[in-house]
């Protein structure tokens, strides 16, 4: 190798170095360290961590709370992902049309995303408060139904969180759909109209396929978000009652920083990573082939 090309090589590596160092330090190393910790026992003051192999994973399989939390999370994902994406698409199509006050509408839809999560959770906490909360004022005050503790009942608490999350996410995803819709030339819609396509047909065969790259992006984000919700739970329910609203990441937080069982928290984290990784691979593998990128 001559000197000039060596210099180019060094240049390239130097340019890569900052990003590579950050990635390695804050992404790759923690991931590997977590794997390492999950194969050891939790260190205590008198006893350092010892190698336990897959013992932690065996414990996980036998942990009923883990299965409950995983179940909660799957329901939560099933409840939030399709609904928030569908709602985002609907709102985007609507505010993309020629309606008066659409700038205001776009802003209104985006507001939930701008608000801090903790503030949002507190607002919704008020909505769900028994007797004098907004929801109760409607159901009890107006409809005369019996009072109900929405966040304090096992059967309703998860649904309440799902509603908050959809409200929060839909506006955010709408922005992506709106940007994608505006990138579609209006002449495509006009051409379809001249060929006799109605609005629904045009949406189904032209607009929606052209939005597929955005849908994939939004879907990946929605899946990740549904598995990493913590803030709302901390403020609104702390996982209760009886773990009915505890999701995977909140459970990890509980195990790691309340019970100080770092080895088991690492084990749970590996499971979460595996779930998200598999989901991302599946999404790309199945959808990629059906997507047209411009």
């Amino acid at each position: 190798m001559n000197r000039a090309s060596a210099q180019v090589q060094i240049h390239g590596w130097l340019l890569l170095l900052p990003a590579a160092a950050l990635l390695a330090l804050f992404t790759h190393y923690p991931a590997l360290a977590t794997l390492w910790h999950s194969l050891h026992s939790t260190p205590k003051g008198v006893r350092p961590a010892v190698w336990v192999g897959l013992d932690n994973y065996r414990g996980l399989v036998e942990d009923p709370v883990f299965w409950q939390v995983l179940g909660n999370n799957l329901w939560f994902a099933a409840g939030t992902i399709p609904a928030s994406i569908a709602l985002a698409l609907l709102m985007a199509v609507w505010v993309n049309g020629k309606i008066s006050g659409r700038g205001f509408l776009r802003l209104a839809y985006f507001t939930p995303t701008v608000l801090p999560m903790i503030a949002v959770a507190n607002i919704w906490l008020f909505f769900y408060t028994p007797t004098y909360g907004l929801l109760e004022q409607f159901t009890v005050g107006l409809l005369g139904l019996p009072s109900h503790n929405w966040l304090g009942t096992k059967s309703t608490v998860l649904s309440c969180l799902i509603v908050v999350t959809i409200w929060k996410e839909a506006g955010f995803f709408m922005i992506f759909y709106l940007a994608a819709l505006q990138a579609i030339p209006p002449s495509l819609g006009e051409a379809a109209a001249i060929e006799g396509a109605g609005r629904w047909y045009c949406f189904r065969r032209v607009t929606f396929p052209l939005l597929m790259p955005t849908t994939l992006f939004v879907l990946v984000n929605a899946v990740i978000n549904s598995f990493r919700l913590v803030d709302h739970i901390v403020v609104m329910t702390r996982g209760g009652p009886d773990n009915a609203s505890s999701l995977l990441l909140y459970y990890i937080y509980d195990v790691g920083f309340k019970f100080w069982d770092s080895a088991y928290a690492s084990t749970l984290t590996m499971v979460l990573l595996a779930i998200l990784g598999t989901a991302a691979i599946l999404q790309f593998a199945f959808l990629e082939r059906r997507i047209h990128y411009r």
Binding site: P185, S187, L188, E190, A191, A192, A193, I194, E195, G196, A197, G198, Y201, R205, V206, P209, L210, H292, R294
Partner: protein, 330 residues
């Protein structure tokens, strides 16, 4: 019977009149060109015929039917867009049969019509490709295919050749014209390029500021321009319009085509400003009083800039216009 007729059609954008009382008719099977400079309302007129915009007042008729209030799908038209508007996620074949699928044409007939159109346009080998894998000329053909497979009596085209290079444009010009005559379609074709208008049209409607300046055959537009605007718009270089020529009257303008002007021993005194050699002939640009006058001279003109010459023409080549209204006299 006329295939298309516009009666006093007006389109307002706010208070601006994009199309201002336009009326014309096109007979069935004719090639009508809407010609004019950019911003003259020609594309808007086409979109009004297509139903993509609503008229502010006036009527649009296609065939026997008054389609003024009808949506585009029910006007029995097809359209080729300037940007082609091909669906980027669909194959060439799917693009072409898009409208047939919308209208639930049976699979067998769809395939037969696709094969016929593909053969007509030389697209047989490209049917499985995506639009992004085609050249500009091929995309143009696909857009044409999508328009003609519908077999509608009327086809609208909005500057379809403006994205092609000069060579291809010339080819496509001939091809579109041949196709139109072969299929007997009534064509409404928008362009700002007067060469396209002259070479393709049966009938030219010249527009300016939303109004019809002249409506006639290419021969009429070239041979008898109705006003100074038409005279100066048609022809490369366009007609010379000269003010203050002795013997024609103060309030009149004299028009004469460059090919009718010759450099002579006697006539209108002028000074040569520039000589443009085109091969077969040269354009000699002269200044006579306040006006520039072009003369088309065979072969390579020997005049040099600064030289004093006299410009002459035959009296039967003269067009006279009213200096105040710009209208043709006689």
């Amino acid at each position: 019977m006329s295939a298309i007729s516009l009666q006093d059609v007006t389109k307002l954008w706010g208070s601006a009149r994009a199309v201002d009382g336009v009326s014309f008719e096109a007979a069935a099977g004719r090639f009508l060109v809407l010609l004019g400079p950019s911003g003259c309302g020609k594309s808007t007129t086409l979109r009004l015929i297509a139903g993509l915009e609503e008229v502010s007042s006036g009527r649009v008729k296609i065939g026997d039917a008054d389609v003024t209030g009808l949506p585009p799908a029910r006007r029995r038209i097809s359209m080729v867009f300037q940007s082609y508007a091909l669906f980027p996620h669909l194959s060439v074949a799917e693009n072409i049969v898009f409208g047939l699928r919308v209208r639930d044409v049976p699979v067998g007939e769809r395939a037969a019509r696709l094969a016929k159109v593909a053969g007509l346009l030389g697209l047989e080998k490209l049917l499985e490709r995506r639009p992004s894998q085609l050249s500009g000329g091929q995309q143009q053909r696909v857009a044409l295919g999508r328009a003609i497979i519908a077999e509608t009596p009327v086809c609208l085209m909005d500057e379809p050749l403006s994205n092609l290079d000069a060579q291809l444009r010339q080819e496509m010009r001939r091809e579109i014209r041949a196709l139109q005559q072969k299929l007997g379609i009534t064509m409404v074709y928008v362009t700002h390029d007067q060469t396209e208008a002259m070479t393709m049209a049966d009938q030219v409607v010249l527009l300016r500021d939303g109004r019809v300046e002249q409506n006639g055959t290419p021969d009429e537009l070239y041979g008898r321009p109705a006003n100074v605007f038409a005279a100066r718009f048609i022809g490369t270089p366009p007609m010379n319009v000269i003010a203050g020529v002795p013997g024609i009257g103060e309030d009149r303008l004299l028009g004469v085509r460059p090919e009718d002007v010759r450099l002579d021993a006697r006539g209108l005194p002028a000074t040569v400003e520039a000589v443009e050699y085109l091969g077969a002939d040269s354009i000699v640009t002269c200044r006579a009083g306040g006006d520039l006058v072009n003369a088309r001279v065979a072969r390579h003109a020997r005049a040099v800039p600064g030289e004093r010459v006299c410009l002459a023409w035959n009296t039967d080549a003269v067009h006279l216009f009213d200096a105040r209204t710009g209208k043709r006299i006689q």
